[in-house]
Structure formats: structure tokens, C-alpha cells
């Protein structure tokens, strides 16, 4: 039963990240996702220190504040400070992450948050922390998160689509591109912090970028891309668990590795197909 809960948790994390990751990939903003996933760390620690509780809602607010803060910081450094976007991202998220690391290490005694857990997550302990109806608490939390994200994408699909494909045109229609930008960034912040406990700050990026990239290679339709990304994520969760059992290693690490393997396979098959097929449509990049 533990195996089931671990795989389910991994699959839920992967699905949430995959859905949002699709939009990050299409917006060419995956590195902002990376930045957010690291920058929420001080938010979590500060929220924890202030509230003295590990209740998700407190941590969530702390993380969300810092998630939006770093997107603001990046925008400001890039637009006002005339910095290159990648330099602005690199500078701001490492700074915030470093502050988070310092906070954790100096308050280690009082705080039930340790660096390993935050950096790498500990998905193997998920089945120990049971919630309502003997279902692990994380499964409940991530399940609700996944439903919220699906709802968000369902309702906001057209807004996300327009502002992602052609932001200038969207602005010319009078649609608030800032609103959609920050809505997506907030969703990424929430997802990151709720995925922390299971996969940690570093590997969550693999879940944000990997499945979406696999799906991007496989299809040229956005609804299909969303579904395929979720499937790729779930597959990685299952495959990763058994890989970890086989080599007796980190489960989250194995899941992230399987995503990498999936990507390599899909890319390889695509290349081979393109080389071997002499069909005329390949001229058009189809």
C-alpha cells in the first residue's frame, strides 16, 4: 500500500507541474519556474517561524508571497535595471534561495524543517503522515491542488492561450497581460510549495519542464499537449518508483531521471523517424 501512495503522490505532483509546465515552456519561461521553485524557500521558512506551524495554508501564503516577489524582482531588474533576462533570473533566485538556506541553518534547533528535506524532498515518508480517512495528508493536498489547476486552466484557457501565443496582440485587445502573467506565476508558486515535501526544491523543476517538453515534441495541438504532459508525468512517477526500488536510491531522484529518459527516447525516435522517412511533409518540419 505504501508503494501505491508514493506513486500516487508522485503522479499528482507530476500532473500539477506538467499542466503548468506546458504554459511555461510555450512562454519560454521555464527558467522563471526554476527561479520560483527556489525563491519560495525563504517564504516557507519565514512563514513557519512566524506561525510556528507546518500547516500547509501558512506555508502556502509565505511561498506565494515570495513567488510573486521574485517575478516582480526579475521583471524590475530586466525592464528597469536593463539586465539580461537570464542574468536577472540567476541573480535574484540564488539570492533568495541563499537567504532561505541561511534561515533554515541558523534556526535548525527550533525548526522542524531540515535542509535535506527542503532540497530533496522525502516522498518515502508520505504514507506515514496520514490524514482524513487514512489517506495520506499530501495526497489530499495535492489532489485538491490538481483539481484547482485543472479548473484554472479550464476557465482561463483562452486567456492563457492568447497571452501565451501573442502577448502584444492580447494587449491590443485590452486584455490584461499582467493579470495572466501573475495568475500563472501564482499557480506555479502554489504548486512548487505544495510539491516541496515530496520532491524538494531542486527536482520540482524537472517536473515542471520535463513532461511538458516531452509532450511538446509529440504533438502540435495544445489540448493534446496538456494531456500528454500529464501522461508523461504519471509514467515517470511509476517508472521512477520501481527504478528507485531496484537500485535502492532516492525515489524523487529516480522519477526525475525517468523524465529525462523519456525525453531522450522521444527525441531519439523523432530524429530517427525524420532521417528514415522520405515523406514530402518532412520538408515543412511536420
Amino acid at each position: 500500500m505504501d508503494a501505491f501512495w508514493i506513486i500516487l503522490t508522485g503522479a499528482l505532483v507530476a500532473s500539477c507541474c506538467a499542466l503548468l509546465g506546458c504554459f511555461l515552456v510555450l512562454r519560454k519561461m521555464t527558467m522563471v519556474g526554476d527561479a520560483i521553485s527556489h525563491a519560495v524557500l525563504p517564504g516557507i521558512v519565514i512563514a513557519y517561524l512566524l506561525a510556528q506551524s507546518r500547516a500547509s495554508i501558512t506555508l502556502l501564503i509565505g511561498a506565494a508571497v515570495f513567488g510573486v516577489l521574485i517575478t516582480l524582482l526579475i521583471e524590475t531588474l530586466h525592464k528597469q535595471g536593463k539586465m539580461q533576462l537570464d542574468a536577472a533570473i540567476g541573480l535574484s533566485f540564488t539570492l533568495l534561495f541563499a537567504i532561505g538556506v541561511i534561515l533554515i541553518s541558523s534556526f535548525t534547533g527550533q525548526v522542524d524543517l531540515d535542509q535535506d528535506c527542503v532540497l530533496y524532498g522525502e516522498i518515502a515518508y508520505i504514507p506515514l503522515d496520514l490524514g482524513w480517512r487514512a489517506i495520506p495528508r499530501q495526497v489530499w493536498v495535492l489532489g485538491i491542488l490538481l483539481m484547482s489547476i485543472v479548473l484554472f486552466i479550464q476557465i482561463g484557457y483562452r486567456g492563457l492561450f492568447i497571452t501565451t501565443f501573442d502577448e502584444t496582440f492580447a494587449a491590443s485587445l485590452g486584455i490584461s497581460t499582467l493579470f495572466w502573467h501573475y495568475a500563472l506565476m501564482s499557480a506555479v508558486s502554489f504548486t512548487t510549495v505544495l510539491s516541496f515535501e515530496s520532491v524538494g526544491a531542486i527536482l520540482v523543476v524537472a517536473f515542471l519542464v520535463g513532461p511538458a517538453s516531452v509532450a511538446y515534441l509529440l504533438t502540435d495541438k495544445l489540448p493534446q499537449m496538456l494531456i500528454l504532459a500529464v501522461l508523461a508525468g504519471i509514467l515517470a512517477s511509476i517508472g521512477g518508483y520501481f527504478l528507485a526500488v531496484a537500485i535502492n536510491g532516492s525515489i524523487a531522484g529516480a522519477m526525475a531521471s525517468v523524465i529525462g529518459i523519456e525525453f531522450g527516447l522521444v527525441l531519439g525516435i523523432k530524429k530517427i523517424r525524420r532521417l528514415t522517412s522520405k515523406a514530402p511533409q518532412s520538408v515543412f518540419g511536420g
Binding site: 510555450l26 536593463k82 476557465i155 482561463g156 483562452r158 486567456g159 492561450f161 492568447i162 501565451t164 501565443f165 501573442d166 502584444t168 496582440f169 492580447a170 494587449a171 491590443s172 485587445l173 485590452g174 486584455i175 490584461s176 511538446y216 504533438t219 502540435d220 495541438k221 495544445l222 493534446q224 499537449m225 511533409q281 515543412f284 518540419g285 511536420g286
Partner: protein, 262 residues
């Protein structure tokens, strides 16, 4: 030389736009008449794109103001359509032709609602007008340059606006598409629409446009094509460079140099 008119569709008053202290548009002041096909002409980097972006409120003005239909843009936004440069979007985006054209039916008001069957009917009708009705479900990554431009035009038509601002619609398109687009623009003009086109092929200016705006950071001229499109003002716009070009083309003409299609 700037010809001003009464009851203009577009009015720019002392508009200056600067990037990092460096002015890209300097003190632009003109009025444009309704129901005209208007060409915005100038060399690279002369601020043509900046000017229509500024008119769409996509860039902050350093000074001055713009009026469209005598009002602020936000009051008449639904009557204005903007066609960005084709190269400004990623054509590998996972979307099909109809998805893109339906964007033209989106407004801040209906962004959370489903589009109606009427919206779809209008989008399909617009695709028919640009002769892309056989490509409705085609993925945009499979379109040629000319087809991409037609899709952008259909998206603009779907907005059912009265004023169209088009950024370089003829760049990188085949002759058939260019002709099809200009025919459509002329047809729209007959229905009283006003169309601004950023353009840089000087050879076609006289055939295409009723009114011409000559731009090189400053406004060189704005007026009827027959009054404004003349060598003195063009030389002022292109500063000497045109001279060399026209000499070359004269030379080619004189020597009967063979012109080959690629």
C-alpha cells in the same frame, strides 16, 4: 509638409517616444482621413513600428497624446484592430488556423466565457475572405509565410473593426498573397474602413495608397500620395541613401541587366 484635415480618424499630437533616453519618435503631429488606405513609409529604424505600437497604447509616450475617432483608445478599442509583424510570434506554437483567427473574437468582456457559434461563423467567413477556408484545421507550424500573413489578416478581419493598423503585412509573402491582401484592403476601404500599413517597398506605394506618411524619427510629410510621394521629400526621408539606390536602379535599367527570379 503636413496636410491636416478636419474630423480625423487618427490624430497624433506632439508625440515623442524614447527608449532609454534616446528618442525613436520625435514630436510627431499629424491627422489622418477616414476611409483611406494609408502607407507609413520610412527607412529601417525610423520608428514606423514604434509609431503604431504607440497608437495602440503598447508603448508609453514620453510626451503628447493620440486620439482615435476623436477619443481615447480605451473608449474605442473594439473599433481598432492591430496586426503585428508576422515574425513577432512563434509559429511552432501548438495551435491551428481557426484557433488563431478566433483570437480576434476575444475581448476583455468575454475572456472567461465560451465563444459562441456566431463567433465561429465570423471566423470561418474571414478565413474564406483571405482564401484560407481549406486550412481551417491546419496546424500553424505547417503554413508558408504568405499563409501565415493571411491568417493574421483573417484574425484582424474577425475583429470587425473600423480602423486597421498593420505592421509590414507584405514582408516575406509571395506575389499572389500580396495581391490578394491588397485587393482585400481596397475592398475594405470601399466599405469606409481606414487602413494604416507600415510599408517599405517604394515601387508599389503609388498603386497601393491614397495617403502617405513619411517618417524618419521626425515626421517628414503626411498628405495625399500625389502631393507627398515625390523625390525631394523621399530624399529627406531616406537621407541620401535613396540616391545611391535610385542610381543603381537607373544603371540597371540603362544596361538592361537581366532580372531573374530566385
Amino acid at each position: 509638409m503636413v496636410q491636416h484635415i478636419d474630423n480625423p480618424v487618427v490624430e497624433l499630437h506632439n508625440v515623442t517616444v524614447a527608449y532609454q533616453q534616446k528618442p525613436v519618435l520625435w514630436n510627431i503631429d499629424y491627422t489622418l482621413p477616414e476611409g483611406n488606405l494609408i502607407g507609413i513609409i520610412g527607412p529601417n529604424g525610423s520608428g514606423k513600428t514604434t509609431m503604431i505600437k504607440a497608437m495602440m497604447g503598447l508603448l508609453p509616450l514620453s510626451s503628447g497624446y493620440t486620439k482615435i475617432f476623436g477619443k481615447d483608445l480605451d473608449d474605442v478599442r473594439s473599433r481598432v484592430s492591430y496586426v503585428p509583424q508576422r515574425g513577432s510570434v512563434d509559429w511552432d506554437f501548438p495551435a491551428n488556423v481557426l484557433d488563431v483567427v478566433l483570437m480576434g473574437r476575444s475581448k476583455p468582456k468575454n475572456i472567461f466565457k465560451r465563444l459562441t457559434s456566431q463567433d465561429r461563423a465570423i471566423a470561418l467567413e474571414c478565413l474564406r475572405k483571405v482564401k484560407m477556408e481549406n486550412f481551417v484545421k491546419r496546424q500553424i507550424s505547417q503554413l508558408s509565410g504568405g499563409q501565415q500573413q493571411r491568417v493574421f489578416l483573417a484574425r484582424a478581419l474577425a475583429q470587425e473593426a473600423d480602423l486597421y493598423l498593420m505592421d509590414e503585412p507584405f514582408v516575406g509573402v509571395d506575389m499572389a498573397t500580396e495581391q490578394a491582401i491588397i485587393d482585400l484592403l481596397k475592398e475594405m476601404r470601399e466599405k469606409g474602413k481606414t487602413i494604416l500599413v507600415v510599408h517599405h517597398d517604394l515601387q508599389t506605394v503609388k498603386d497601393y495608397f491614397d495617403w502617405v506618411v513619411l517618417l524618419n524619427t521626425r515626421l517628414v510629410a503626411s498628405g495625399k500620395t500625389e502631393d507627398v510621394f515625390q523625390s525631394e521629400l523621399l530624399n529627406e526621408t531616406y537621407g541620401g541613401k535613396l540616391n545611391i539606390l535610385s542610381q543603381v536602379s537607373n544603371l540597371l535599367k540603362a544596361k538592361g541587366h537581366p532580372v531573374r527570379e530566385k
